[in-house]
Subunit: 117 residues, 2 copies
């Protein structure tokens, strides 16, 4: 696990990112936290999952990383399978946007002795 | 301006995302905040800039959106031009990773009366 509760992503490009940005509504914090944790746990168990990074201030940003489009599709199918989750989504957010993006290049910096991202 | 201090991104895919994830070091908060604001102001003034979203908890995630690779390259060239900024970067982060990704699909949800992302 890297900082932020994510998994370090060790894949070489090309791979895929699902960029989920959202603004929370003011309802049902407990239900939301449970479902968010379930979505991550579900992702972690799936073939092709590479990692996830997440932060929230005024806007929440969760980026999950995947080997290919097929693994994203399988994750989405599993998530949609939970009808309760789909219902919850209506109440937890004022707005969200999902972007599917192909990571073409990446590079990093790591201070000596620090944990890589 | 949408929530989170970003600009709403109205482009249709394909467009590009620069996903910048980072863990801050414990030094020079003032210098960091200034430089971060300058990077955003610089981006806002550039051709091809579509918007930016940002949040930080244990990990910081800033995603900026761009019309094409050429506009990202021009932004990076301008930013690198500031030698001070490059020096600062060494001290502000324990680690960071930059990913250049092509947004192939997006979809959104907006509650009635709420601001779109």
């Amino acid at each position: 696990m890297s900082a932020g509760g994510g998994h370090r992503v060790t894949a070489e490009p090309p791979y895929y990112a699902v960029i989920f940005t959202s603004v929370r509504s003011k309802t049902d914090d407990a239900g939301y936290a449970d479902a968010a944790a379930r979505m991550i746990a579900l992702a972690e168990g799936m073939d092709g999952f590479l990692g996830v990074e997440s932060a929230r201030e005024a806007v929440g940003i969760t980026v999950s990383y995947w080997r290919d489009l097929a693994s994203i599709k399988a994750w989405k199918a599993q998530a949609d399978h939970s009808a309760a989750q789909a219902e919850g989504r209506q109440s937890w957010y004022d707005a969200y946007r999902v972007r599917i993006a192909k990571v073409e290049r990446d590079y990093d910096f790591v201070r000596e002795g620090a944990q890589p991202l």
